[in-house]
């Protein structure tokens, strides 16, 4: 999840010219070895105190975790999640006061399918990761990304705790028969090819990355549910979240910024995603890992070597990092701006209509004067015959109306050879799908083949459609307006 930040490392080596060695620790007066935040010089031990304190404070402030809670730590092998695991271990090991009070376990999701790795390569990676995870002494699990395609649509009552077939775990970290288990594990199922096709159908890297992170989040939540965890901690750093704020803005996902950066992401009702590393910059995390010998494993992702202009995410990350070097308060300013945002009308989280893909609140019921209806009008006017009809038809262009959404169905059906219709799977119409997707996911889906979408999206959207049809039938007899 987190990449090696080469900049952070080179900064660390450049330190002598930077003048940190000539400075004293601002806490104890010893010689400083790192500069945290903007200009706080610390010696090694004070940096550790600061770092650990901040981590604990992030948990403490949020008051989300109760004594004895089980928390699943999403471990990717990258810098941030490695640091997170190390901090949790430290917090539990400590015989001193203020011990962390939850029971952790690790989960690794193998994303080899995304970068087209062979079965053997993936097995090697899983082996390495399992070695690292074994060392922590926590229970650990491994899953593969394509398992996300098997996830059934989310039930309103999530009590489906059947064990996944290709799902492997090792509750006892001392057993040493992992290699065999890993061999037979995840890699190369029928879903692997489907996952590849789905990714290949995405025309832009931006859509691909969105899809992968969507699959990953779904799978994390799904696995947590199966294993009986209600909290999943991910390693996203403040730097990453800040560039996420801007990227979400650029992708039309403004409405989901608050949940996407919150400490406790509650868009899935029964599983909460926690972001305990959000108060750290990537640089601080890399420093911590370097100073305290925290191992991490670099793994290529879609964005690796893709160039700065490959996708909205990569561009935004570059943009934020460049600004941050020139204006050191960029990340924290953006972060604080994000913290001041909230989702409109989020009084009752259960009543909100949610996107069937990303589960954030639907942002498509906007007024007549809005970017959404203006775009629909543009598509309508430059694709349909006759400018004389625009007067009346645009009046009908209400946000949820389907008149103008057929443009996307044209896109979808136009590219294949009509295979959309002949597909044996429960195919989904772009029109009904767009009703259940948020603005940002509609943009993402526009770049993909609808028939390959994961069933959890399709089924859920079909379910919502059925529900709304049911509602329509009985609406005359309903006494109060409920969503």
């Amino acid at each position: 999840m987190c990449q090696v930040d080469e900049e952070g490392i080179s900064l660390l080596e450049k330190k002598p010219s930077f003048g940190a060695s000539s400075r004293d620790c601002m806490k104890c007066g010893d010689r400083a070895v790192v500069i945290a935040r903007i200009k706080d010089a610390f010696c090694r031990s004070c940096f550790l105190t600061y770092f650990v304190h901040r981590f604990r404070a992030t948990f403490g402030k949020a008051k989300v975790i109760r004594d004895g809670d089980k928390v699943l730590l999403a471990f990717s092998g990258g810098q941030c999640s490695s640091a997170m695991v190390s901090l949790v271990k430290r917090g539990l090991d400590q015989s001193t006061h203020k011990k962390l009070r939850f029971t952790p376990a690790l989960i690794y999701i193998d994303e080899g399918v995304v970068t087209g790795q062979s079965k053997e390569e993936r097995a090697t990676t899983c082996q390495k990761i399992s070695d690292i995870m074994k060392e922590t002494g926590f229970p650990w699990y491994i899953a593969s990304l394509e398992e996300a395609l098997e996830i059934p649509a989310q039930n309103s009552s999530p009590d489906t705790c059947q064990a996944g077939s290709s799902f492997h775990s090792n509750q006892d970290p001392n057993t040493d028969e992992l290699a065999g288990k890993l061999e037979g594990l995840c890699l190369e199922t029928e879903h692997t090819q489907r996952c590849r096709d789905l990714l290949a159908s995405a025309k832009s890297l931006t859509a691909k990355q969105d899809l992968v992170s969507n699959l990953r989040n779904r799978l994390l939540v799904h696995k947590a549910r199966q294993l009986g965890y209600h909290k999943v901690a991910v390693g996203d750093s403040g730097t990453r979240l800040s560039s996420g704020i801007l990227a979400n803005l650029a992708k039309g996902r403004g409405a989901s910024i608050p949940v996407a950066m919150a400490f406790a992401d509650d868009r899935w009702s029964d599983v909460t995603i926690l972001r305990p590393m959000r108060e750290f910059t990537t640089k601080e995390i890399v420093m911590y890992n370097a100073l305290f010998n925290v191992d991490s494993l670099f793994q290529p992702t879609l964005a690796t070597m893709a160039g700065d202009y490959a996708s909205i995410d990569t561009l935004t990350e570059t943009f934020i990092n460049e600004l941050q070097t020139n204006f050191p308060s960029t990340v924290s300013t953006v972060f604080r701006t994000g913290e001041k945002m909230c989702t409109a009308g989020s009084d009752d989280p259960d009543a909100v209509r949610r996107c069937s893909m990303c589960k954030s609140a639907l942002d498509t019921s906007v007024g007549i004067s809005s970017a959404l209806s203006a775009t629909r009008f543009s598509l309508h006017i430059s694709r349909k015959e006759g400018s004389s009809t625009n007067e009346n038809s645009c009046k009908a262009t209400k946000p949820d109306d389907a008149t103008c959404t057929d443009s996307s169905s044209e896109q979808c059906c136009g590219q294949g050879d009509g295979s959309c219709h002949s597909n044996q799977m429960k195919s989904v119409s772009a029109e009904s799908l767009s009703k259940t997707l948020c603005y940002g996911c509609q943009v993402t889906v526009r770049d993909m083949d609808l028939n390959l979408l994961p069933s959890y999206i399709v089924e859920e959207s079909a379910k919502i459609e059925r529900r709304s049809r049911m509602r329509d039938e009985i609406k005359d007899f309903l006494l109060c307006e409920e969503s």
Partner: protein, 365 residues
């Protein structure tokens, strides 16, 4: 490789940046015009019989805006009385040339034109200000002064509304800027199509959903006469970052611009976040969130030979102001009853300032 127009089947001449569709010239014109008309209808921007001042700089956006406002007003019978309003910042080699364009537009479109200048309003031209402040931060002066100048000019021509040529790119850029600067108050209102409805004159942006590229296309194919030169004083560096980022985004995904505006529209700010309350400037009566509006602070700085007064840290600014006021109390005891008097006594041309001071007082009632 003849591409056919998606609408009429004729030979297409362009690909719409907004939707990616190939269109011929005429279909593009009608689509472009219909969209602006739709925006105006949807947002109920105008009422019949209103007098509307079009902020005209001579640049592409405002030239197309003036043209299309006149066109739509006649075509759809808005019943508007359209006036061109220009601000002369006093930048030799830039604004004087672009004002010539505006004057030509005035003749071509047969619309009345009013020009207000910084010199007559504030007693300072931008040239003179740049001499004082240098090439850094001069855009702050220009931006702050122009905002007020437009309002004052619109009041002079008795307009009910101001329309400006801000396009979708401008708005998306402003959203990004406000996030980067952490300006939550502006972030909340920068995507509104009409602003300032409660305080002074309402301003609206009919091009809110119109891509900059399409405006250029429209001007290009309509052969509209506009002035396209960058201001000779250095462009605002930080905004430049946001602009580059936006252009790069557009290259990756052309819908980004509208997507950002959608994001901006669907943002809401937590209720417990402190927001500046809008009041009026105690000196000139213009809307302001502080006792003194920014223009008055900047002006005072200029007039007192401390041009940096209004730039930089807030607390430093306040401290300096207090210091200045204390000094002025000590120095001139007789007229020092109100800050207003001190400004007048120290300006080079008190007659023009007196004229300027009478204008905003009309805002009060």
């Amino acid at each position: 490789m003849p591409v056919s127009c998606r609408l009429c089947g004729g030979s297409a001449i362009l690909k719409r940046p907004k939707t990616g569709d190939a269109l011929c010239k005429d279909c593009f014109f009608s689509a472009f015009e219909a969209e602006i008309h739709q925006t105006i209808l949807d947002a109920e921007l105008f009422k019949k019989g209103e007098r509307v001042a079009v902020g005209a700089s001579g640049g592409k956006d405002s030239t197309v805006l003036a043209y299309i406002m006149k066109l739509l007003n006649e075509r759809h019978d808005y019943g508007l009385d359209i006036v061109l309003l220009s601000v002369d910042e006093g930048i030799t080699g830039y604004r004087d040339d672009s004002l010539e364009t505006v004057k030509r537009n005035q003749m071509q479109y047969d619309l009345p034109l009013k020009i207000v200048s910084y010199e007559e309003l504030y007693g300072w031209t931008m040239d003179a200000i740049v001499k004082q402040i240098g090439l850094k931060s001069n855009c702050t002066f220009c931006g702050v002064f122009r905002r007020q100048a437009l309002d004052r000019g619109a009041l002079l021509v008795k307009a009910d509304k101001i329309v400006t040529g801000h396009n979708a790119d401008d708005i998306a850029e402003t959203v990004i800027m406000n996030v980067l600067r952490g300006d939550v108050a502006r972030l909340r209102r920068c995507t509104a199509i009409t602003t300032g409805a409660d305080g002074a004159l309402p301003r609206c942006k009919p091009f809110k959903y119109t891509y900059e590229k399409e405006i250029v296309m429209y001007a290009y194919f309509k052969k509209l006469d506009y002035f396209s030169t960058e201001c000779i004083y250095s462009p605002n560096a930080y905004r430049g970052h946001a602009r580059t980022y936006l252009k790069d985004l557009e290259k990756i995904r052309p819908s980004s611009i509208i997507d950002i505006i959608h994001s901006g529209e669907s943002l809401s700010i937590k209720k417990d976040v402190k927001m500046p309350t809008q009041g009026t400037c105690t000196r000139c009566g213009y809307i302001s969130s502080r006792p003194l509006c920014k223009a008055c602070v900047l002006l005072e700085g200029l007039n007192k030979g401390l041009p940096k007064l209004g730039i930089g840290k807030e607390h430093k600014e306040r401290k300096k102001l207090a210091l200045l006021q204390a000094q002025s109390f000590n120095q001139t005891i007789e007229p020092a009853t109100s800050a207003n008097v001190t400004t007048e006594s120290s300006t080079p041309s008190s007659s023009s300032i007196a004229g300027a001071n009478t204008v905003p007082q009309r805002i009060d009632f």
